[in-house]
């Protein structure tokens, strides 16, 4: 019995193994072609447009026409310099000359993968702009509207309840009067609701005190919150001169924050990237998925790049981009990014929130002193493998011997002292 099970399992395993091997070695299909295209080519090529390199659509046909098969173009794509050296193909040389002698990076792709890639390129159809917008913008728009405004609903409910109350009160009055009429009593003197209301409170002083206290407390809490909020711009989300999406760059494309904010590990300012950093990619990426060429054109306008001629305009008067500052600490406080990122090993998201999900950046944290201090109270200093903290750590262990502490918060190393931030 047991043996049967074992052999069955073995057989099953073998079959699965063979199947999976077959699957893995099977020629790449068009789906893979898209992934391959996006992963390897987009930095320099577009399908229908010349960028750093030529437009890809139609290239296969041109090569096939000349050489009679796909072999040449496959070799060319895999290692263009090698192909040129081996064959001395004049067409390839001309191509190399035409594109400013820009060397195409050799691609570690199998021939099948190249074929899949070319298949994808050949079958590619340009999306209609309307469809693209609907596909990308539609979902976002509906999801943001569906949340609604809770305060508004509250007011509506209160209004409805008030109307119901008023109607019921009137009905009650009328019924009482009818009853009295029936009993031939004098009808109750006609008083409006407000007067009756006042009358009720004058009779029930205790209720009045409670209600008054409730209102006073509510108003007090409200004004306290309001006053606390002066100068706090949590949630501040201004419109920027360029619709730049961190969601696309940091989230979808997974570009490391430090690539653009490159002084974050060196100095106090994280640094707003200069346009020449944008151009590292946008020399090639001329069109965005969401806003097309409109927003990218703004950086070309700032630096003076001619996307048609693919070169910088000589003597162009460059214009800096006037970003609206979101995180704006007061002048009397000193904050250093490198201290927190390099020494404190904090993630950007700790203070800036889910930045990789923000299309437009907003201020995620309060950025108040209380907020700073709370974090300093709770966060442990990463003292391991840092020669600076060696002796300090030993001294702190000695000091907190009674409590048996081994790790220490920023507060315990003096991180709440005034001159750590104010000078």
């Amino acid at each position: 019995m047991r043996n049967t099970w074992v052999s069955l399992t073995k057989k099953l395993l073998t079959v699965t193994g063979i199947l999976s091997m077959l699957l893995m070695s099977s020629p790449a299909n068009a789906q893979d072609g898209e992934a391959l295209y996006k992963g390897n080519c987009t930095a320099c090529h577009k399908i229908d447009k010349k960028v750093i390199g030529p437009a890809l659509q139609g290239s296969r046909a041109r090569w096939a026409e000349r050489t009679g098969s796909d072999d040449a173009i496959i070799a060319w794509i895999k290692n263009s310099q090698g192909y040129m050296k081996e064959t001395g193909d004049p067409y390839a040389k001309q191509l190399y000359e035409d594109y400013n002698k820009t060397v195409m990076t050799p691609m570690a792709l199998s021939s099948d993968e190249v074929v899949a890639l070319l298949d994808y390129v050949d079958n590619w159809q340009p999306e209609t702009p309307a469809a693209a917008v609907a596909a990308d913008g539609g979902a976002g728009a509906t999801s943001s509207e569906s949340t609604g405004n809770p305060t508004m609903w509250l007011i509506v409910i209160i209004a409805v309840l008030f109307v119901v109350f008023r109607v019921l009160w009137g009905v009650n009055k009328s019924l009482t009067n009818l009853n009295r009429q029936k009993d031939n009593d004098e009808p109750e003197p006609s008083v409006d609701m407000f007067t009756e209301f006042i009358g009720f409170f004058t009779k029930n002083k205790a209720v009045m005190v409670v209600v008054f206290l409730l209102i006073a407390t509510y108003v007090g809490v409200l004004s306290w919150d309001m006053l606390n909020g002066i100068g706090v711009y949590q949630g501040y989300q201004p419109t920027q001169p360029i619709w730049f999406s961190h969601k696309i760059h940091a989230g979808q494309n997974g570009i490391n924050c430090v690539y653009c904010h490159n002084s974050v590990e060196k100095g106090k300012a994280a640094g707003i990237p200069s346009v020449n950093i944008c151009m590292n990619c946008h020399m090639g990426v001329q069109e965005g998925k969401v806003s097309g060429t409109k927003e990218i054109a703004k950086i070309y306008d700032a630096i003076g790049w001619d996307p048609d001629k693919l070169q910088y305009t000589k003597g162009y008067e460059q214009k800096p981009i006037e970003w609206v500052r979101i995180h704006n600490l007061q002048d009397f406080v000193y904050f250093n990014h490198s201290q927190h990122v390099v020494v404190g090993k904090q993630e950007c998201q700790t203070c800036h929130g889910p930045i990789e999900e923000m299309d437009e950046v907003y201020q995620y944290s309060e950025l108040t002193m209380g907020w700073c201090i709370n974090c300093h109270r709770e966060t442990n200093v990463s003292m391991d493998n840092n020669g600076y903290y060696e002796s300090v750590h030993a001294e702190l262990v000695e000091k907190y011997k009674g409590e048996g502490l081994e790790t220490f918060t920023v507060e315990q190393i003096g991180g709440l002292e005034c001159v750590k931030c104010h000078y």
């Binding site: 711009y233 201004p238 002084s263 060196k266 100095g267 106090k268 300012a269 640094g271 707003i272 990237p273 200069s274 346009v275 020449n276 950093i277 700032a302 630096i303 460059q318 214009k319 800096p320 981009i321 006037e322 970003w323 609206v324 500052r325 704006n328 007061q330 002048d331 009397f332 406080v333 000193y334 250093n336 490198s338 201290q339 390099v342 020494v343 493998n385 840092n386 020669g387 600076y388 903290y389 060696e390 002796s391 300090v392 001294e395 702190l396 000091k399 190393i413 003096g414 002292e417 005034c418 001159v419 750590k420 104010h422 000078y423």
Partner: protein
């Protein structure tokens, strides 16, 4: 007595005129047109009642106010293309060179986001060895001077560069073809490239005229004349006579055991003071090898105030005094001829002091220096003779490594003036100097200038010469320029720009190259020259960088030493000749002209940091004044005390027919019968007020050499003048404030004798040291860092470099004379100056008696002087902290007494409770208040660029004080944390410590067992200021040790 007077409003009322009686009943004498107004029919047609109007107005104001409550939108503008080396928030340092014709320093310029903001010394330089002076580190503010020229001018009208170039080119062509003469006048030029460029200019002009028609019809000439405002021509002449070389030798003060200076203010003014002060401070460590310093001078100079033994002499006695020293030395070593010499009056045992100096010099033969600031070649020749007798040449005085900082010739200027007067100068180019301002009136430079056809001034800002020049071709500030310099021996230093030119200016070198039709710029010229000539840096890791890049990065390099034409050989006959030509002392009042530590020769007299830097000795700011001995002042009935309510008396000083009316400041130590007047004034402004008058015009010329003293008449005038001083009290009231002792006492006795710990009675009546008793719980000061300062009172020379460095680093406001007078100076660091002398029971009574404190204010005529820099002492038990109602000043476990500006509400309790009086209150908004616009650089839009962005600019109503440069400490700690190492000792320096030319201030971590500051704070000389009050400061002072037998030796 009852009052029976009659009061009346006028004769009408007295006489009861009917018209008056009728009118007196009414409130208004004339009928008011109310009825007419109300009868106006249009009134009914308006709808706006008075109440409505008020409602609208109220609503309007409220609405406008509310509408204004909007969060301002802040824009951030990144670079379009960011330069690689600029990283926002990170400072860059560039090595450069400061030379203005008077002061030289190799410097490091700190820039932030492309703006130069601070200057420190370059430690790689052999010339200045990492030191700076107040004048050098303040030069950063002159960059942002709004008085600088913006673009070239012709006859007072703006003109563009192209036009001015073509006009002047045409004029030069005319001069060339007509065989005219071009003269170039500058202060000492130490730039090899500039000099070779001038050589090219000369060849260009002189050669072309020859080639016209192949025959020489008229020969054009070009001459370059160097002229120094404070001349060393006499010294150069003396060296030529005694050694055959017209150069200034190098001086090695670090090798000198005895220094005798006759008037030479070598710590702050004489030739290369930064290096001299730094070298000399190395010999001032108390012990067996401590050097001894004698100074014989007229005005109490900064150097003289630091001398172990100081003799006051009249200026005319200098030759005689030097001759007496020579005689005494000759007598001791049994050689040389005696020179007949005697002093006219000796009221402070100068003769005895000279004899003592002679004995010490002979004992330290070959390890001594004798110098004089005289511009009389005869006097200097005798000084050379003395140094020769003492075998100092080759050891402490070195002709093989000459100093090039003074090359000016008085005779050459005189010759130039006569050329100008006879109309033979067609064009005069003036750069780096202001001869109309700095030349004696008797030369008549301005008159001669008017006879020159074309005068071109390469000035940076308006000066007396540019006012008289037809063309003004403004030049860059040195922080915008390229240049090289050969200040000393074979060292070459570089000047590199640290900012794009702020104004429409151009270096004169570039201008001249454009005239000559050269396509290169001056930078190309420098690059080509030095890339091949400088020897590469010793650092072999630099493989890829060119020699030029390394040289510019270091700021200094080594060049091939120019071969000396003649070997210096001593010629004793020149000394004897000089001895016979020595002029004898004169009688009557004499005036000594001196150069102030802050203002210098007036080049940066419009720099408010320097104007508000208190003079080291008198502590006066923002004014020129005459100094006199207090005894003389009392004789003349002049007021010797100064204060807000006590105006200074004034005198009229007349020299060579030129008079100046000056307020008089009491200067104990000044030779009686003399008046001291500072040069360099009459150039700077406080708002619209021109500060002082030009004293250069009063200089007299003897045998072709400008003399910085002369006979004068001095008379009191009946006017008074308000003078602002930062210190009006001069005594320590018998307390151990500036602790000092003598060298024998220090060497022979233990610390209990000369630096006893302060004792206090404990609960049992036992005397115990103050530090053992404590009312407070201790801060946890042993954990982590504990930052502290140690200040050596022995090497502090009081020069004030730290004060201006602090202003620059910490954005300390400048408040102007009026506010200083109200004791509202904002300086975080002050240098207290104390006079002292042996108490004379006849004058001072028993000083232990409190009732005699008044007498203690009576100064001696010739006292000793001590300096004590005082900043916040960062007390561990700070009295200020306990009285702050809002906890705006608190203690840090790292030893800081923290001041949190944004918390401060300005009660000023802390300042009242501070025993050291180091807290400063912002009485005004110095940034925005128009009262300070002219004196406070940080208030004008351009000069705001000098502010340090890491330090808050404090607002009105806030207390501030020394923070121990906490921003630098935090930055240094962060660097260490990022590198994962301990903070290396010395890697963090406060601004005051790094700017100190004598390294008197040491900063560091007291808890670091190997730190210099700990070693210094734990040594026997260390003590706390006002130790008896038990506040446990983190600032230590090192007892001052004077190299004298007893204090009578100095003062007697």
């Amino acid at each position: 007595m009852s009052n029976n007077k009659v009061y009346w409003r006028g004769t009408e009322e007295l006489e009861k005129a009917p018209a008056f009686v009728k009118g007196a009943e009414k409130e208004f004498s004339e009928e008011l047109p109310i009825d007419q107004f109300l009868a106006n029919k249009d009134l009914d047609s308006t709808n706006t009642s008075r109440r409505d109007f008020l409602k609208f107005m109220g609503f309007g104001i409220t609405a406008a106010t509310l509408a204004a409550c909007e969060t301002p939108v802040v824009k951030s503008l990144p670079y379009v293309v960011k330069p690689d080396e600029v990283m926002p928030g990170i400072a860059n340092y560039y090595a450069s060179t400061y030379f203005d014709g008077y002061d030289f320093a190799s410097v490091l310029v700190k820039t932030r986001e492309g703006r130069p903001i601070h200057i420190e010394g370059n430690k790689l330089s052999k010339t200045t060895k990492g030191g700076v002076s107040a004048r050098v580190n303040s030069s950063i503010l002159s960059l942002y001077n709004k008085r600088r020229f913006d673009g070239p001018m012709k006859e007072g009208q703006s003109i563009d560069w192209a036009t001015v170039d073509s006009e002047l080119k045409q004029q030069i062509e005319n001069v060339k073809s007509n065989g005219g003469n071009i003269r170039v006048l500058s202060s000492t030029m130490i730039s090899p490239s500039s000099q070779s460029l001038l050589g090219d200019f000369r060849t260009w002009i002189e050669s072309v005229s020859e080639s016209v028609d192949g025959e020489v019809t008229a020969q054009s000439t070009v001459k370059h004349i160097m002229y120094d405002a404070v001349s060393a021509a006499g010294m150069l002449e003396a060296n030529k006579r005694t050694h055959g070389v017209e150069i200034l030798p190098g001086y090695h003060f670090d090798k000198a055991k005895v220094v005798v200076s006759f008037g030479a203010d070598f710590m702050v003014n004489w030739i290369n003071p930064i290096a001299f002060a730094r070298d000399f401070s190395k010999t001032r460590i108390p012990g067996e090898n401590m050097s001894k310093h004698f100074q014989f001078e007229t005005v109490m100079s900064t150097t003289g105030s630091n001398a172990d033994v100081r003799g006051a002499i009249k200026p005319s006695e200098m030759g005689a005094a030097i001759a007496m020293l020579g005689n005494a030395i000759a007598g001791m070593i049994g050689s040389g001829d005696k020179i007949s010499a005697s002093l006219s009056s000796d009221d402070n045992n100068v003769e005895g002091k000279i004899k003592e100096a002679a004995a010490k010099l002979v004992a330290a033969k070959g390890q001594s220096i004798v110098i004089s600031d005289s511009n009389d070649p005869n006097v200097q020749a005798i000084v050379n003779g003395i140094n020769q007798m003492l075998n100092n040449y080759g050891s402490t005085i070195d002709f093989n490594n000459p100093i090039n900082l003074r090359k000016g010739s008085d005779a050459a200027v005189v010759e130039l003036i006569s050329e100008m007067n006879n109309g033979s100068v067609d064009m005069l180019l003036v750069m780096d100097s202001d001869p109309v301002y700095t030349s004696p009136a008797s030369w008549g430079f301005a008159d001669a200038l008017s006879k020159v056809k074309t005068v071109v001034s390469f000035a940076e800002k308006p000066d007396a010469t540019s006012q008289n020049a037809g063309y003004i071709l403004p030049v860059h500030h040195y922080l915008e320029s390229w240049n090289d310099a050969n200040p000393f021996a074979n060292e070459v230093t570089f000047t590199q720009p640290t900012i794009n030119p702020i104004n429409n200016t151009r270096q004169w070198q570039d201008t001249m190259m454009i005239w000559m039709g050269m396509s290169d710029s001056y930078y190309d010229l420098l690059h080509k020259k030095w890339n091949s000539e400088v020897s590469a840096s010793d650092d072999s890791t630099v493989i890829f960088a060119s020699k030029w890049n390394v040289a510019v990065q270091d700021g200094v390099s080594v060049m091939a030493m120019p071969k000396m034409a003649i070997e210096p050989v001593f010629n004793s006959e020149a000394v004897s000749a000089a001895a016979s030509a020595l002029s004898s002392p004169s009688e009557g009042w004499e005036v000594a002209f001196y150069v102030k530590t802050g203002i210098g020769i007036g080049i940066n007299a419009d720099n408010p940091w320097l104007q508000e830097l208190p003079d080291p000795v008198t502590k006066v700011v923002w004014d020129q004044y005459a100094t006199m001995n207090p005894s003389d002042m009392r004789e003349q009935g002049l007021n010797t005390l100064m204060g807000e309510q006590q105006k200074a008396g004034m005198v009229r000083v007349t020299v060579n027919g030129i008079s100046m009316e000056l307020p008089v400041v009491a200067a104990p130590g000044q030779k009686k019968g003399t008046v001291g007047v500072a040069l360099g004034y009459g150039k700077g402004y406080e708002g619209d007020r021109l500060i002082g008058e030009n004293a250069f015009v009063m200089l007299s010329v003897v045998k072709g050499f400008v003399q910085y003293s002369s006979s004068a008449s001095v008379e009191k005038i009946e006017r008074r003048y308000n003078i602002a001083s930062t210190q009006t009290q001069h005594t320590m009231m018998g307390r151990k404030i500036l602790n000092e002792t003598t060298l024998p006492d220090f060497n022979q006795n233990d610390r209990e004798h000369w630096n006893p710990a302060e004792m206090i009675s404990n609960a049992y009546g036992e005397k115990v040291p103050v530090s053992t008793l404590d009312l407070w719980a201790n801060h946890d000061i042993d954990l982590g860092h504990r930052w502290g300062l140690s200040i050596d009172l022995n090497t502090c020379i009081g020069c004030g470099s730290c004060v201006t460095a602090c202003h620059s680093e910490n954005n300390v406001p400048i408040v102007g004379k009026d506010e200083v007078n109200r004791t509202r100076s904002m300086s975080w660091l002050r240098i207290d100056r104390y006079y002292s002398s042996e108490a004379d029971p006849d004058i001072h009574g028993d000083i232990s008696q409190e009732k005699n404190y008044d007498q203690m204010e009576i100064p001696s005529d010739y006292p000793e002087v001590g300096y004590m820099p005082v900043m916040c002492q960062h007390c561990n038990h700070a009295p200020c902290e306990t009285v702050c109602p809002v906890a705006a000043t608190t203690h840090s476990n790292e030893g800081f007494n923290q001041m949190t500006y944004n918390r401060c509400i300005g009660t000023r309790y802390c300042a009242n409770n501070c025993p050291y009086k180091v807290r400063r209150f912002n009485w005004f908004n110095y940034v925005g208040d128009s009262k300070f616009t002219d004196v406070n650089p940080s208030s004008d839009n351009l000069a705001r660029m000098v502010l340090n962005p890491d330090v808050v600019v404090r607002s009105r109503g806030v207390m501030e004080k020394c923070s121990l440069c906490v921003q630098r400490v935090q930055a240094g700690k962060l660097d260490a944390k990022k590198a994962g190492t301990r903070v290396p000792d010395g890697s963090i320096q406060t601004a005051c410590a790094s700017s100190c030319p004598t390294n008197a201030i040491t900063f560091g971590d007291i808890n670091d067992k190997s730190s210099k500051v700990r070693e210094s704070a734990m040594n026997d000389r260390a003590y706390h200021l006002l130790e008896e009050i038990g506040v446990q400061p983190n600032v230590w002072y090192q007892t001052k040790v004077r190299n004298i037998e007893n204090s009578a030796e100095h003062t007697a």
